[in-house]
């Protein structure tokens, strides 16, 4: 790694620049759009010359959208809150349920363990529509329709398999020797799990949790089908800017920026775990 030729260094830098350009340009453009009104967004050819305005953000935060003739109320901040509740709630539940299960699959090869693991994974590939539509019927009778609890349960379809399979990999990568040593010292199973296994797999758990959080955050169809307007996440809420009098591109862009922000902050905060800690090199050594 350390003996790169100057040419290779340059090539790598160029490649990285291209990658950053490809992935970041649309984000950059969305941020620009969020600072404009339709009048300057819808110009041809498109141009970067405009006077930035915070109107879109103000409208979203204040909850009033003044479009062409009428003004209407929007609940985007409420949507944002719902997204937080649903994503945090479902990731938390998935961690509580998924991490012990992942540990069991990694440490204890028991009868049928692979089958159970695969069954859990298989929930991930049931097409959402297939499950959702009959589910509406049962949700009504169970009284789960239109509740956060019901939604968080359905969100397990996204979160649980992801957490289970990624975390299982990390547990398997940690050598069991440390745990053995700890147990020989007379500690019980639970203490070993809590004091040794969990901290060692911590970064992996954090990373899996973050990925599950992102997928939960981006989900669209579950709440739409199963809940009423006051439980909808940002993904549905942002569509409110597609109005009868035209698409408010500026506000959609602002909504996207505001919906990325919490996840980005979380990722930056968890950066240490996500990128650095994920790699278990030190443990494996």
């Amino acid at each position: 790694m350390d003996h790169m030729s100057p040419l290779e260094r340059i090539l790598r830098a160029v490649a990285l620049a291209l990658v950053v350009l490809f992935f970041m340009f649309p984000i950059f453009w969305i941020v620009l759009m969020s600072l404009q009104t339709n009048e300057t967004i819808l110009r041809s050819p498109p141009s970067m010359a405009f006077v930035p305005t915070f109107k879109n953000y103000a409208a979203i935060i204040a909850g009033r959208l003044d479009s062409n003739v009428a003004s209407m109320s929007i609940q985007f901040m409420g949507n944002l809150m719902n997204s937080v509740i649903l994503s945090v709630g479902s990731v938390a539940l998935a961690l509580v349920l998924g991490v012990p299960a992942a540990y069991a699959f990694a440490r204890h090869k028991f009868k049928g363990s692979e089958d159970i693991a695969f069954t859990l994974l298989s929930f991930r590939f049931a097409p959402p529509l297939l499950v959702l539509l009959p589910l509406t019927l049962y949700f009504q009778s169970l009284g789960l329709a239109n509740t956060y609890v019901g939604l968080i349960w359905v969100y397990q379809l996204i979160c649980l398999p992801l957490i289970l399979w990624i975390v299982r990999g990390y547990f398997e990568d940690i050598s069991p020797d440390i745990e053995h040593a700890y147990r020989i010292a007379g500690h019980g199973w639970f203490a070993t799990f809590r004091k040794i296994a969990l901290p060692l797999a911590g970064p992996g758990i954090a990373a899996a949790g973050l990925l599950a959080f992102i997928f939960a955050w981006n989900n669209f169809v579950f709440a739409l089908v199963l809940a009423s307007a006051d439980k909808q996440p940002v993904t549905v809420g942002a569509l409110a800017f597609v109005t009868a009098s035209g698409i408010q591109y500026g506000q959609i862009a602002a909504a996207i920026v505001m919906s990325i922000a919490p996840t980005l902050l979380l990722a930056l905060w968890a950066q240490k775990y996500l990128v650095e800690g994920l790699s278990l090199g030190a443990v494996k050594g």
């Binding site: 990285l16 990658v19 950053v20 490809f22 992935f23 970041m24 649309p26 453009w29 759009m33 967004i41 110009r43 041809s44 349920l97 998924g98 012990p100 299960a101 069991a104 699959f105 440490r107 204890h108 028991f110 693991a117 859990l120 994974l121 590939f125 049931a126 097409p127 529509l129 297939l130 959702l132 589910l135 349960w153 397990q156 379809l157 649980l160 399979w165 990999g169 398997e172 990568d173 053995h180 147990r183 199973w189 990925l211 981006n218 993904t235 942002a238 569509l239 591109y249 909504a255 919906s259 990325i260 980005l264 930056l268 996500l274 990128v275 650095e276 994920l278 790699s279 278990l280 090199g281």
Partner: protein, 307 residues
């Protein structure tokens, strides 16, 4: 893995709980998901019916007829082909690109860490909304990407509107959104590789390219499979991006499973056909993931052996 089975110290009283323990640990997770099996069963039942909600008088069991009809239905074969093409192309492109980026960022440094988090931003953009923005960016009048194409000399590049470039366009959006997912998993994998084999190889004077093929890739393969598996399962069920960009058009160019099933259900209310389509999709993903998981287990054992 037999090591754990003969754990050296074990208190007698815990024997029972030790055999039960793994079940106890995995049971809650399973129970939470088991509820999903009931609606799944209902869907199977629907798929065996002639069931269109707008014609309740016609409803009745027709057993496998919905499935049998697919054999002679050109729309179905088109859907199958488009879905597999889309999934295959996106997964391969994203794997190559994701691996490439992960290799670029492999070295631990503040800059690389920061860049890798920044590159996650497309993944944080909900695909449905990202597609809406890409639709604007590829608009022939106001779109910045269309403008770039014009500057590059493609005066009449029609992106998702032309049957020739529609697939390319939605794949581009998919690559933009999901490559970071693969990148971050592979980056974690790369950084977790033990250093000894590489040091040994370097001492032996093995060229770097060969190190990559003979050490990096095999050891990374469980990570590659995990990433590919999750991406493949999502990709073959793609809905948000395609529906928001073209609704499955132009013509039937992008009629993938979920778009077709969605239209069948929500617009035509042809529940029988919709459920049968989704069952086929489920069967395909089941088989694919079975293959993947088998290989994953095998590769993990091998990777561990080599480490």
């Amino acid at each position: 893995m037999s090591v754990q089975a003969d754990m050296p110290v074990m208190r007698r009283s815990s024997r029972l709980s030790r055999t039960m323990l793994p079940y106890l640990l995995s049971l809650p997770a399973l129970l939470v998901c088991i509820g999903i099996l009931i609606p799944f069963g209902t869907a199977v039942y629907y798929s065996l019916q002639r069931y269109r909600m707008s014609q309740p008088w016609n409803r009745g069991m027709n057993w496998g007829e919905n499935y049998l009809n697919f054999f002679t239905d050109p729309d179905f074969w088109n859907t199958l082909q488009v879905s597999l093409t889309y999934a295959g192309l996106t997964v391969v492109l994203e794997l190559l690109l994701g691996l490439g980026i992960a290799l670029l960022l492999q070295k631990r440094s503040r800059v690389n860490n920061f860049v890798s988090i920044m590159l996650l931003m497309p993944l944080m953009t909900a695909p449905a909304l990202a597609a809406l923005m890409f639709k604007l960016m590829t608009n022939s009048n106001f779109g910045i990407l269309s403008y770039f194409m014009q500057l590059a000399g493609f005066q009449d590049f029609r992106w998702a509107s032309s049957p020739d470039t529609a697939l390319l366009t939605v794949i581009l959006v998919d690559v933009w959104v999901y490559t970071p997912f693969i990148m971050i998993l592979l980056l974690a994998g790369l950084r977790s590789l033990p250093t000894q084999p590489f040091e040994a190889a370097a001492l032996d004077g093995v060229p770097r390219l060969e190190q990559f093929w003979r050490i990096t890739l095999p050891m990374l393969s469980p990570y590659i499979l995990t990433a590919a598996l999750f991406r493949l399962l999502d990709s073959i069920q793609q809905f948000d991006i395609i529906y928001a960009m073209t609704q499955g058009g132009p013509g039937d160019k992008l009629m993938v499973f979920q778009v077709e099933a969605y239209l069948n259900f929500f617009q035509s209310t042809n529940v029988g056909r919709s459920a049968a389509l989704l069952m086929i999709l489920w069967a395909i993903t089941y088989v694919l993931s079975n293959i993947f998981v088998k290989n994953w287990l095998r590769l993990r054992e091998r990777a561990r052996g080599e480490a």
